[in-house]
Symmetry: C2
Amino acid sequence: MADKKLVEAITAMDVDFAQWYTDVVKKAELVDYTSVKGCMVIKPAGYAIWELLQKQLDERFKETGVENVYLPLFIPESLLEKEKDHVEGFAPEVAWVTHGGLAPLQERLCVRPTSETLFCDFYKNEVQSYRDLPKVYNQWCNVVRWEKETRPFLRSREFLWQEGHTAHATEEDAENRTIQMLDLYADFCEQVLAIPVIKGRKTDKEKFAGANATYTIEALMHDGKALQSGTSHNFGDGFAKAFEIQYTDKENKLQYVHQTSWGVTTRLIGAIIMVHGDDSGLKLPPRIAPVQVQIIPIRQQAEGVLDGAYKLAESLSEVVVDYAEGAKSAHHSLEMQNIRVKVDDSDKTPGWKFSECEMRGIPLRIELGPKDLEAGNCVIVRRDTAEKITCPLAEVNEKVSELLVTIQKEMLERARTHRDAHTYEAKDYDEFVKAFTEKSGFVKAMWCGEQACEDKIKEELSVTSRCMPFEQETLADTCVCCGKPAKKMVYWGRAY
Amino acid sequence: MADKKLVEAITAMDVDFAQWYTDVVKKAELVDYTSVKGCMVIKPAGYAIWELLQKQLDERFKETGVENVYLPLFIPESLLEKEKDHVEGFAPEVAWVTHGGLAPLQERLCVRPTSETLFCDFYKNEVQSYRDLPKVYNQWCNVVRWEKETRPFLRSREFLWQEGHTAHATEEDAENRTIQMLDLYADFCEQVLAIPVIKGRKTDKEKFAGANATYTIEALMHDGKALQSGTSHNFGDGFAKAFEIQYTDKENKLQYVHQTSWGVTTRLIGAIIMVHGDDSGLKLPPRIAPVQVQIIPIRQQAEGVLDGAYKLAESLSEVVVDYAEGAKSAHHSLEMQNIRVKVDDSDKTPGWKFSECEMRGIPLRIELGPKDLEAGNCVIVRRDTAEKITCPLAEVNEKVSELLVTIQKEMLERARTHRDAHTYEAKDYDEFVKAFTEKSGFVKAMWCGEQACEDKIKEELSVTSRCMPFEQETLADTCVCCGKPAKKMVYWGRAY
């Protein structure tokens, strides 16, 4: 009975990408739905990915001086309202607590959709002198946004994330931290998640409620749609003025602090699924795979097979793999991981185990049976290419280690090739419309800087400006939409 | 200006223990108050303790097969109401969400005070066959209980915790897991937090709403009051029947699962403060100290001093300390930690740095000045005993390593000696009253098993039954309160 659930094929990507996604998150046992609409259960296989992501990102944060804290879940309504743009952006989508125990509250509390206002309220007391700066704090927590349409990982009413909030003495320090964190996210996505991203700045229309500037990393999913994968905001002194966060500088003058915030969410798991997955299911880059090697004993009742499998697992688990190539981190230890290996000794058939292994995206499976043992070999199968490799048992530690590094690298290259092959250019509106009707991907085009053009493009094509990339090119002199002089090159796309 | 805040002495423990506690949490910069009554900010020094606690506990969980998951923050009212005792216990103290965005909700949602009902709703779909059992899941999250009186870490409206929820095929499996987790908590408190605990079972009056049996670890604070430090509940099949969680056994018969839950919270940080602290502030056991060694340069402008301090820090940070003695864990690596060391190179005076170091509870400080460097020595000072040790620089790695192990061990011994010296026995009610009026601590006394006696004792003395310890003694034949035949020996105490 239980077997049937998985053996049913999942919907093919080309037939219905949205259904394929839903099938994968369910069949790879990443999430489950709950009785609370828009809230999900993150199951062990999904949560283990989040834990690995969290650990590796947190280590990188701490290298740059970030300290973790925890602020309250609730924001009093009066506090949320202090910064005008901010409350306008968030009020329509927050959940309100109106009763505590049996009694109504005097002031209603919103469940945090993000914590700028709480951090400001906190920094107001914490920061007195230039000696107290910078404050570079972060928290890992849950947040709630009352979305109408929800999808696991991509858009849910509650999600997990980290939100960094910093306060600096000068505008320049704040800008540097904003860009530093964007670079850190981009490097993390490429090196650890094997997801190439475009770094750039959001237009005013698309920026965060209350920010001076929002920077973003944008990734392209397999279906050609864009996913905003992380953001970093420079608030200038706007929040500081609304919350009166001032410090005395070295000349004993009162100054406002300059602030930033930056975050990534469980949405990144959605990105991993949609960048790397295929019709057999999930495909995890080794550095984020909770199990990297699954050993599947063949004819496991035969003498010595299970013992051989356990012995191999033990030996592999002691190998440290060095993924350092191309890494930018200061501490090399961030690039080192012990191999995470499991033996599937359940009473399912090997064929069943193979497809389960594929569905769950485990980078390597090793088949080991009586004949292999006799010959002193095993068979290693790559999830990403389906390549089968016969390997002497004496060399398996080295081989697996080498393969994990190769897979990590090739998955990034493959994703980059796909992204580049689905990135188009448009010089005029005809080309632009054609690109978005006949193809699916990023379209690079020039823009005059007016929101009217963004509005028109959104209305006519359901396409939004993803970012003004740091790497600007001059594709034409005029705006792709209105024909007026162009100011910026923009990446456009249909987004999740 | 900023210096003054810390130099002011804190309230002495003997003068006002509650005020001493509040002073320590503030001056050691563990928490800050917020505009949301009963909710706190956990600041970097406090959160770093929680991170270390979380990491070390989570590793121990995973060794026993625990898998982490994440369930929603919200519980629909109808779901909370499914188990009668449970809803009666929690409904008076939950926060209710009634509006999502601009619209009222059809059904109000409570912010989870604990997640039994959500896990039941989840297991109901997850568990079909005996092959799906056991489920041994845990989550690290925030919960909310609308307490009237609040104190940082000890009782707050929102707190952080882990809650394990398991489902088993048999009553015996459930009971074994309940006890296994209690033992794990007790071992963790003793070995890592240096807090000795009494293991036992709660009386029916004190057990968890909906549980068949609640087990507890009880610790004694420095002021002689008790703190419930962790609990493990066996639910039998009560929740399973209310939520219809059934599986087909090997004989193809439908059976109800047996469930457990178990948790510890940020309250443990309160326990660390109140078990180990003194009039100079916090005192952290090395295994839970975010900074274990603070190097304080003396005359740091003098040539070579800062360089010497940094060099020493680098060398110490590479030392791995083995705390294994007395440890019960299967994987020895749980007992190993790299030394966590910092140099205080700020422009404060050495005297100021010393008292800050003490306030923050850092186990060892090392003083290093030009004269020390010339003599090839440094001075190591223990936070727990104030002992000063002159140590050749060539031997400092070994010496610090040895001292950290010694401090860890001696802090546990000291706490145990204090606990034992404040544990009394009472054979009749006169002795019992005398013990709780003249002294302060645990009182061991016999009990008839009737709630009437617990009620009377609580009303007259504000004393509650802490637990029926696993290690029973026969102190008398009759109940300390009513004189009827005794059934159990009970630890009694005034509790936080």
